[in-house]
């Protein structure tokens, strides 16, 4: 009898599911390394590991329900931002695999919170637009199988004493390189700042004695404020890319020796991109801002669907791939901020803020370069 009782007492022992996170991350990691979003490849990786067996072993119904719930809850998190596009697709496949191979009767459901649903829909739209039809199909299959619970909160609340709670830490490598800084200081914001700054300068000139130059008394902010801000953002972006590379290199340093080269080539590619971005930025500063604004979003969209439609297995393609959600997010935030921006734009027009092309542009382009050299 004693044995039986103890058994019952340990009913909740499986709660945290030891080892599960490592297994899931290993699978997603392999999928990321495979540099693809094809379901075929995922299924291969799944079969290699015989992942269906994750639910095997003598587990009684109550515990099995609990364990399955935990499993779906864990994997579901990789399906949402901040994870990169590829990881999210991998998580979608993994959810599908786990959902369909689970042994619970009826099946345990995947919780999707109200706040995450728009994000999921946007993701689905992305899949379709970039013609990842296998992923879109898998998502649709889950919908049709009624695999989702539409909930108010991501997790079912559970009250326990403090000592048992521990924060889950997820893999840095899976995360989308985009971040708060990038989403806060977008090209638009920089441009807007630049315009305001120019306008400010000009106003100062107008009220100054010498019309070509503002009075010394009026110099209350640093002139190169916007440029500095842009430099800092770029610097941050580069630092982040480097850190990512360090992660990756540290991971498979002993596995593939020539990965290093690849890494550096990627690095230079990354900073090239940054440079190009900066150039585009400055060119657009000299152009008429209002006209470019609405069009640029469309360009982003176009670019994303373009990159999706050519299915080369090349490195560059997958890189583009993993960058897509960033574009998507920008687009998303653009939607959210849309109202504000239109307001701003109308405001801008009301003030009749001019876009001035001045000699500033020329020396701006030189300022960031020496700095970057210094850091190298």
């Amino acid at each position: 009898m004693r044995g039986v009782r103890r058994e019952g007492g340990r009913g909740g022992g499986m709660c945290s599911v030891p080892g599960l996170q490592a297994d899931c991350e290993a699978l997603l990691g392999a999928f990321q390394e495979a540099d693809t979003v094809r379901f075929e490849r995922f299924a291969e990786l799944w079969r290699e590991r015989r992942f269906h067996a994750i639910f095997y072993g003598r587990i009684r119904a109550l515990e099995r329900n609990k364990f399955t719930k935990k499993t779906l809850e864990l994997v579901q998190q990789y399906f949402l931002p901040p994870y990169a596009f590829q990881i999210r697709v991998g998580a979608l496949y993994l959810l599908y695999g786990l959902y369909s191979t689970q042994l619970c009767q009826p099946k345990q459901k995947i919780r999707i919170a109200l706040k995450d649903w728009p994000e999921v829909q946007r993701f689905q739209q992305d899949l379709i637009e970039s013609q990842h039809y296998d992923a879109a199909y898998i998502f649709r299959k889950l919908r049709v199988a009624r695999a989702f619970h539409f909930t108010a909160m991501p997790k079912l609340l559970n009250y326990r004493t403090k000592k048992k709670i521990q924060e889950n830490e997820f893999k840095e490598e899976f995360k989308d390189p985009s971040n708060r800084v990038n989403s806060l200081i977008t090209n638009d914001v920089l441009e807007e700042l630049m315009n305001i700054h120019d306008h400010y300068q000009k106003m100062k000139c107008v009220i100054s004695a010498d019309k070509s130059q503002p009075d010394k008394a009026l110099s209350l902010i640093k002139d190169e404020f916007v440029v500095n801000l842009k430099d800092i953002t770029l610097e941050h972006q580069e630092w982040q890319q480097k850190r990512m590379k360090l992660f990756l290199n540290a991971k498979d340093a002993d596995e593939i020796p020539n990965r290093e080269e690849e890494g550096t080539s990627l690095a230079s590619e990354g900073s090239e991109r940054a440079n190009a971005l900066a150039k585009i930025k400055y060119r657009s500063y000299s152009a008429v801002a209002e006209a470019s604004k609405s069009r640029r979003h469309r360009q982003v969209k176009l670019e994303s669907s373009d990159s999706g439609s050519d299915y080369g297995k090349s490195q560059s393609r997958s890189r583009k791939n993993s960058k897509r959600p960033q574009a998507a997010r920008n687009r998303g935030s653009a939607e959210i901020q849309g109202e504000m921006r239109t307001m701003k734009e109308t405001l801008t027009r009301h003030v009749g803020m001019p876009v001035i092309t001045e000699e500033e542009t020329s020396d701006e382009e030189e300022v960031p370069l020496p700095k970057r050299k210094k850091r190298r």
Partner: protein, 317 residues
């Protein structure tokens, strides 16, 4: 360009195990999965230490409670829960302050539909204080059941977001919240503008609620249950769709029961004080033993004692 067809035919098959590996009880020998290696070790350890490997009563009960209504459909189509209905998960805590419940307060978990009235939840909450019987009954033990508190004191209220929802369905119901509101207003104690409403006029859909926030259910004057909404979601095809089964109890606390001092078998129904026949004061008895010991064949009281009906907290086990 891309051949999506290969997926269409066999997306699940691509993930399913080969036939020889289809026994879910057996963990494959050479699995590379860490989870399975850990589980295997745990199971082996269990096999070594355990004598009887089966679910204990608590576990069976918990599973039974959790799953008994899943997928049920009503006989009458009128009672079918409609698509898009909200399903709330409520934890109703018990006002127990025993030391052993310091870390884990007993509660029951109830599923309620958004379109249900607050009174439907109120009627489904089972609490021992509703079953208390006041008074001393050593002279007429048969009359005790007529004095159950539930029938005598019908007032109750829920407190959600600054509003007291009072049960006013019966003429004898009192506004239990009045004293609280008056107390709050009398010295401007900073609880804002508390209001009261009729419980029977509101459904859960009418309320604006916060998940995880402790609310209150109060009945019998001062029996206070914390209520926490842990989840709100849309109803699912696999849920119980029989409206009549809601509020649906899916989890129950399990409390130790006090046993009869004589037979040591049945749950106590009586407690006596100053009992010349009992070794302890107070002393607990089940109904059969109590009558056998304290009354003769004609039902006459033997010896001196005071007898009170006793309702055990574990009565709902």
């Amino acid at each position: 360009m891309f051949n999506g067809c290969s997926v269409h035919c066999s997306s699940v098959d691509m993930l399913l195990p080969p036939d020889e590996e289809k026994d879910p009880e057996v963990i494959p020998e050479d699995s590379s999965l860490l989870t399975l290696r850990i589980r295997k070790k745990a199971l082996e350890r269990r096999e070594e230490t355990i004598i009887v490997d089966r679910a204990c009563r608590q576990e069976t009960l918990a599973y039974e409670m959790e799953s008994h209504a899943i997928g049920k459909r009503p006989d009458n189509p009128v009672d079918l829960v409609e698509e898009g209905e909200l399903l709330l998960t409520l934890n109703i805590f018990y006002p127990v302050i025993f030391q052993k419940h310091k870390d884990h307060k007993p509660y029951q978990t109830v599923l309620v539909l958004g379109s249900q009235k607050l009174t439907e939840l109120r009627d489904s909450i089972s609490c021992v204080s509703d079953l208390q019987i006041g008074g001393e009954f050593s002279n007429q033990p048969d009359q005790a059941p007529e004095h159950i508190s539930k029938d005598l004191y019908k007032s109750a209220f829920f407190y959600f977001e600054g509003i007291f929802y009072n049960d006013k369905r019966y003429p004898e119901c009192r506004d239990l919240s009045r004293t609280i509101i008056e107390w709050s207003e009398s010295h401007d104690r900073g609880y804002g503008n508390l209001q009261s409403a009729k419980m029977e006029d509101y459904t859960f859909n009418d309320l604006s609620l916060r998940i995880g926030f402790p609310y209150l259910f109060c009945h019998q004057g001062n029996c206070e249950h914390i209520i926490i909404i842990t989840d709100i979601r849309l109803i699912h095809h696999d849920d119980c769709l029989d409206r009549n089964l809601y509020p649906l109890l899916i989890k129950k606390h399990w409390l130790c029961t006090r046993k009869c001092f004589v037979c040591k078998m049945y749950t106590a129904r009586w407690v006596t004080n100053k009992d010349s026949l009992a070794p302890e004061d107070p002393c607990f008895f089940c109904d059969v033993c109590f009558r056998m010991l304290h009354y003769d064949a004609e039902g006459n009281k033997l010896g001196e004692f005071l007898a009170y009906p006793y309702v055990d907290p574990g009565i709902f086990n």
